[in-house]
């Protein structure tokens, strides 16, 4: 009824190859953007920003990054937490080293630095694959966290071993440090998310993305039809590292304010982001958002229902969260390996025909 391509004619090539060729999709996208940019900032308060929106947006960037590596290129990584730490510490060193440069440039630069580090750790992927590679990325996770804990240069020799974000502003609005307004935190993250999502979406539907998918589906066949596996894999690691680095920088500078490598970027972060990608949908940008939203909302929901509603102790809710997210992973892998994104695709398929059966 509402969702169909009938009557939607493209008269130029650019119309035909745009990101959302179907009118309904396009308008939905504009509406979501308009609500996110023009409506939410006026209603957001500290609780919603800190508990839901800011972590959701930041994890969405990390999930997009991991999705490019795992979902599009098929290289499983368990080092996301460590890579986020690279972004965070790079951002900290840049912020304290060059206080006059804009924070936006710092975040982008930390993305670049992380990209370089991740590419370095991606080098073994040229020789090993599958879970061998997953274990190799575990090496990155443990090594990087240890490095940031032990080498005091990274945290400017502070006594506590913590890094804390100094106050920085964009266009006169404070975006980091303890005095940040909720809407400022939200907006800066939103801008980065929008940027990352557009870049990722366009990369994945271009020739680079097709090469990644060819490698994922069957690397030998891809090599035979002329995809350079080294270039494809390393670009996937690089692009993924860039996004994960941005996520790490924002996570530290905007969301946490103060961080310590082991607590904030431990192996549980790696699994959290991996779960987002699996539940949301491997190989889908929308899925990264859906998965991030799901995994951010789940503990909030459990906490409100179990602790707030039923009066259970918090540790019980935390353990239940383990069980629920673990079982969801298994259920999704069994029932719908393509995650929430596939459910959304099926829903759209149904909408297209509705109200007629065929």
């Amino acid at each position: 009824m509402f969702y169909r391509e009938a009557g939607d004619f493209s008269t130029t090539y650019s119309q035909d190859s745009q990101t959302f060729p179907i009118k309904f999709d396009r308008y939905r996208y504009y509406v979501v953007l308009a609500v996110a940019f023009l409506v939410v900032p006026f209603f957001i308060n500290d609780y919603w920003a800190n508990a839901v929106f800011v972590p959701f947006l930041i994890y969405a960037i990390a999930a997009i990054g991991l999705n490019i590596l795992t979902g599009y290129c098929g290289q499983v990584s368990l080092g996301t937490g460590g890579f986020m730490a690279v972004g965070a510490y790079a951002c900290y060193k840049l912020m304290t080293g060059f206080p006059d440069v804009s924070i936006v440039i710092h975040v982008l630069l930390s993305g670049g630095i992380t990209a370089a580090v991740v590419t370095l750790f991606g080098l073994p992927s040229l020789r090993i694959k599958g879970f061998y590679l997953a274990v190799a990325t575990l090496a990155a996770q443990f090594f990087l966290v240890w490095l940031f804990n032990k080498v005091s240069w990274f945290y400017n020799y502070s006594a506590s071993g913590q890094i804390s974000a100094p106050e920085r502003s964009v266009f006169g609005v404070i975006v980091t440090g303890p005095n940040t307004e909720a809407w400022a935190k939200y907006l800066i993250c939103l801008v980065f998310v929008t940027f990352c999502a557009i870049v990722a979406r366009n990369l994945t539907r271009g020739s680079v993305g097709r090469k990644w998918m060819a490698i994922r589906d069957m690397d030998i066949a891809a090599e035979i039809i002329g995809v350079n596996p080294m270039a494809a894999k390393l670009t996937a690691f690089m692009v993924s590292g860039f996004f994960v680095g941005i996520a790490g920088a924002l996570f530290f500078a905007v969301y946490l304010g103060a961080a310590e490598a082991n607590d904030s970027f431990g192996i549980d972060k790696s699994f959290l982001v991996l779960f987002m990608v699996i539940i949301g949908g491997l190989g889908s940008i929308f899925g990264s958002f859906a998965g991030a939203a799901f995994m951010v909302l789940l503990p909030v929901l459990l906490k409100n229902v179990l602790v707030g509603g039923l009066g259970w102790p918090t540790d019980l809710a935390a353990h239940l969260q383990f069980i629920i997210s673990g079982s969801l992973i298994i259920i999704f892998l069994i029932m719908e390996p393509h995650g929430l994104a596939q459910l959304w695709r099926l829903a759209k398929e149904k909408l297209r025909l509705w109200p007629f059966p065929h």
Binding site: V76, P124, A136, F143
Partner: protein
């Protein structure tokens, strides 16, 4: 002999003992991987779960006491009895077999013929579920596990080495018993797989699923069997680790070290798991002893992984693994 060398020898010996414990966990991985092609990330958590269950049964804890108390407002904790260690081990084994059945029935039966990497991710999910269930069932506090194994410094070694070198080696009795148990366990496993009907079926399945199926071996049964054996190995590992450092969450992280052990030894080789474990154990202790002070210590957290990573670049199949052949 110079002091440094003696220290290094002591560190090496202790590393060997630690390596035995890594090898115990790695053994469980190898068993499951050989028989079903599943890379079982949850092996470490299985060891934790087994140890938690054992402590819970021995102390007569009420399972899910915390949850029951929260839901019904009651205040129950213990049944008030103490189960002797051997009986408790037996009961824990029953729980592990039930777990093996459940894992097979509810998870992996539905995932037959999927890509290995999907199975791997499913075992990560399984690890989370078991962690949560273990904590809810028995409580998340650190528990002491004592099944009557000797603990503390071995006097005899201390005195003998003191007389020989003028410096007494510190070797924990527990490590010695762990080594002996590990040797018995490996011998029993080898005997089982060589001389029993079930063991032969197990080897057949590991060799070729379809051929095994066609001569009438029940894959379902073998998979439950192999998960049960892995559960048993996990129980032994859990007892040893638990007696050493208390039953707590970090147990599952220590057990993660079995992964680099496998990388070194190769996924499909039982001797590989043992030798890999010894190499990692000695390597990380020596590295911490020699290089650690220069770089700030705590290198044990990552040394094993980085060693495995470097090793993989040169020999992807590990020391004893079968050569990886790519077929199109």
């Amino acid at each position: 002999m110079p002091d440094q060398l003696l220290f290094a020898m002591e560190v090496t010996l202790n590393g060997l003992m630690a390596g035995v414990l890594y090898a115990l966990v790695a053994l469980g991985f190898v068993l499951i991987f050989k028989a079903s092609g599943i890379f079982n990330y949850a092996q470490g958590v299985m060891a934790l779960f087994a140890a938690l269950t054992l402590v819970g049964i021995m102390d007569g804890q009420v399972p899910f006491a915390h949850l029951i108390n929260a839901v019904f407002g009651t205040d129950i904790h213990h049944f008030g009895w103490h189960v002797p260690a051997l009986l408790a081990i037996f009961l824990t084994m029953v729980v592990m077999v039930a777990l093996a059945w459940a894992v097979q029935r509810f998870i992996f039966r539905h995932l037959v013929n999927q890509e290995p990497i999907l199975l791997f991710m499913a075992t990560i999910g399984l690890a989370f579920v078991m962690e949560g269930v273990g904590d809810i069932m028995w409580g998340a506090d650190i528990k002491k596990l004592d099944v009557g194994l000797p603990q503390g410094i071995n006097e005899w070694i201390d005195i003998t080495t003191f007389e020989a070198f003028g410096y007494g080696f510190f070797i924990d009795n527990l490590d010695i018993s762990a080594t002996i148990v590990a040797i018995i366990l490996v011998a029993a496993l080898i005997a089982f797989s060589q001389y029993t009907k079930q063991g032969r079926a197990l080897r057949a399945v590991a060799d070729d699923h379809q051929a095994a199926l066609s001569v009438g071996i029940s894959l379902n049964f073998i998979w439950i069997l192999v998960w049960s054996i892995a559960g048993f190995v996990a129980l032994v590992a859990g007892i040893m680790w638990g007696a050493k450092s208390g039953v707590q969450f970090s147990l599952s992280l220590i057990a993660l070290k079995a992964l680099p052990v496998l990388m070194l030894g190769g996924f499909t080789s039982i001797p590989g798991a043992i030798i890999g474990g010894l190499i990692i154990g000695v390597g990380e202790k020596l590295f911490e002893f020699l290089i650690g002070p220069m770089v700030g210590g705590a290198t044990e957290n990552w040394f094993a992984y980085v060693l495995a990573l470097l090793f993989l670049v040169f020999r992807p199949q590990g020391l004893f693994g079968e050569k990886i052949i790519e077929r199109v």
